[in-house]
Every structure is written in C-alpha cells, then in structure tokens.
C-alpha cells in the first residue's frame, strides 16, 4: 500500500492553500482479502455438510466472539475516540479500517449465523418443543434487528464513505455525516450484542 497526497478536503474550514492530507491509497474491496473470505466460506460449507458438533461449535463460537468483540469495541471504545480525532487523522484511520470491515463483518456474521442455525438443528434448540425455545426466538429477534440496521444503514454507509474517499476531492461534510451514521449504528449494535451475550450464555448453561 502506498501513501498518496490528495488535495486537502478541508476546503470548508481552512485557508485556500491548506496543506494536503496524507491519505493512504486503498481498494474499496481488498482483493487479496477475498481469497481468505473464500477459504472461510469453503470451510464453513464443509462444517455444515459434515454436521459434526466440533466444527459447527467452532464456527459459531469463534465467529460469534469476533462479531461481538468487534461491535462492542468499535461502537463503545473506538467510536467515541474517532469522533474526537482531527479530520486528517479520521480520514487516514477510516481509509485503513473501513476496507477491512467490508470483508470481515459479512464473513464473520455469515459464519456465526449459518453454523449457529445448523448447531441449533443438531442440538434441537431451534425446535419449538425445546424448553429454552423462548430464548432462541429472542435471539432471532435481536439478530433480526441487528441485520436490518447493518444492511440498511451500516453497510451502505461503509461503502459510501470509501467511494467518497476515493474521489480526488472528497467532501469532508459527507464523510463526517456517513461516519457518524456508521459509528452510531455500531454503538447500537454493540449494546444489542450485550443482549446476545445474555441469551447465548443462558442457552449454553441450560
């Protein structure tokens, strides 16, 4: 990755000849990362096809842990820090973080949910006769709300920020607005992850 100087996006707020902001060059979707995504997808399909307890538990627990930690850390720790950064620092941080998020989050979420559903079928927790079925339905509702927020607000904002940053003269107001949407959304998802933790620990302890 090379660092490229772009014309300062701080046109609105500084003098006419503000120094250019160093912005790392980036791909909106990192192509090399797609190989890793494909590997995870193949292993996930193999785990579901084998229908064995260990691989299903591995994908569900490892994916779920990654999902929860990323949401909590991004929403409740990194989010407020990013909000207080200077615009050049925020731009640099965003160009390094967001392309990775484009690949990491859908992969982690797909692995967690797909393996979790198959695990539920195998263990019988998804069936309505299970004594803990109410907790499982509660987890569907929480995941459903999270999915709508992630698909409707978070992912589009993520892509739009990256497309904006790719422009020769990115508009800082647009980046600010979309990043605010991204961070607030991540915060809400982080709080909902706490509810997921409560449900999942209840389900695993019986």
């Amino acid at each position: 990755m090379t660092d490229t100087a772009i014309p300062a996006p701080a046109v609105h707020e500084g003098p006419a000849h503000a120094p250019p902001i160093e912005r790392p060059d980036f791909e909106i979707v990192p192509r090399r990362g797609l190989v890793l995504v494909a590997v995870v997808a193949v292993l996930l399909i193999a785990a579901i096809e084998s229908n064995k307890l260990w691989p299903l538990t591995f994908f569900h627990v490892a994916g779920g842990a990654a999902w929860t930690i990323i949401d909590l850390f991004l929403g409740l720790i990194l989010g407020p820090i990013i909000g207080r950064m200077s615009i050049p620092a925020r731009v640099e941080f965003t160009t390094r973080l967001m392309p990775k998020m484009v690949l990491i989050m859908p992969t982690v979420v797909t692995a967690t949910l797909a393996a979790g559903w198959q695990l539920g079928v195998k263990l019988g927790t998804v069936y309505s006769f299970n004594p803990l079925h109410g907790w499982v339905v509660a987890s569907y509702i929480i995941v459903g709300v999270m999915a709508v927020l992630a698909l409707g607000l978070l992912e589009p904002a993520n892509i739009a920020v990256l497309v904006e940053l790719k422009k020769p003269r990115p508009n800082p107001a647009v980046i600010e607005k979309l990043m605010k949407r991204f961070i607030y959304c991540a915060g809400v998802l982080g709080v909902m992850q706490v509810a997921t933790l409560v449900i999942m620990t209840k389900l695993s302890s019986g």
């Binding site: 339905v137 999915a147 927020l149 904006e164």
Partner: protein, 135 residues
C-alpha cells in the same frame, strides 16, 4: 451541507427488510410444527409493495447519478445473490418444502434486490459531492 430532496429510499428499504425478517422469524419460531402461512405471506406481500414503491419513487428522481448507482448496485447484487444462494442451499438441506420454501425464497429475492439498491442509492446520492466542495 446542502442536500437535494430525495425520496425516503433508505427508510422504505429498512421497513421492507424488517418485514421479511419478521416473516422469517415467524416461520422459524414454529419449527418443526406446521406453520399457518397467512401472516408470513402478508408480511412478504407488504415487503414487496415497499420494494416496488421504492423502485418507483427512485425512478422518478431527475438527474440522479444512475451510472454511479448501477456501478455499486451491480457488484452488491452479485455478492447478495451469492449470500442468498447459500441461505437457499441451507433451506433445501434442512428439507424446507412447499409453501414455506416459496415464501422464504421470495423473501430472499426481495433481500437480494433491496440491499444492493440501498447501497447504490447511498453512494449515488453523494455523487456530486466534489462539485459541492469546489463550489
């Protein structure tokens, strides 16, 4: 930041997604018992109506950055068709059949069209942001 007036595509899209998610939860919460399909069909129909309304409202916007919209939406569509295909495979593997399979497949179709539409819209609505910086 001055923004032009645009139809509430994101809000309608999220409402449409919420309806199909609700339908999916309704169907899966009753497993393995027989599920009355009426509520799920009603939720799906409402979701499809919102999708059509959204497409209609967006198609009437003048001077919209359609090239940028389709540039993003076509790749998102490819990604979400793959995801929808994987979910469909899971349904078939779990022996979902009959009316439930039809409702879930159509829900996936709505999902795989509406999400790319939201991505394309969010990017395209800021397509002229450089001109606003220069202005």
């Amino acid at each position: 930041m001055n923004e032009r007036e645009l139809p509430p595509v994101t809000q309608l899209g999220m409402a449409s997604l919420a309806l199909i998610v609700a339908g999916g939860i309704y169907l899966s919460a009753h497993l393995p018992r027989h599920v009355p399909l009426g509520p799920a069909v009603a939720l799906l129909a409402a979701s499809v109506l919102l999708l059509l309304a959204n497409i209609f409202a967006l198609s009437r916007v003048k001077d919209f950055a359609w090239d940028r919209f389709f540039e993003v939406a076509k790749w998102s569509l490819l990604a979400y068709v793959v995801i929808a295909g994987m979910i469909e495979y899971a349904f078939l593997k779990d022996h979902v059949s009959g009316g439930s399979l039809v409702v879930l497949t159509l829900s996936l179709a709505v999902f795989s069209v509406h999400v790319p539409m939201l991505m394309g819209f969010t990017v395209a609505r800021y397509a002229d942001s450089e001109e606003r910086v220069a202005a």
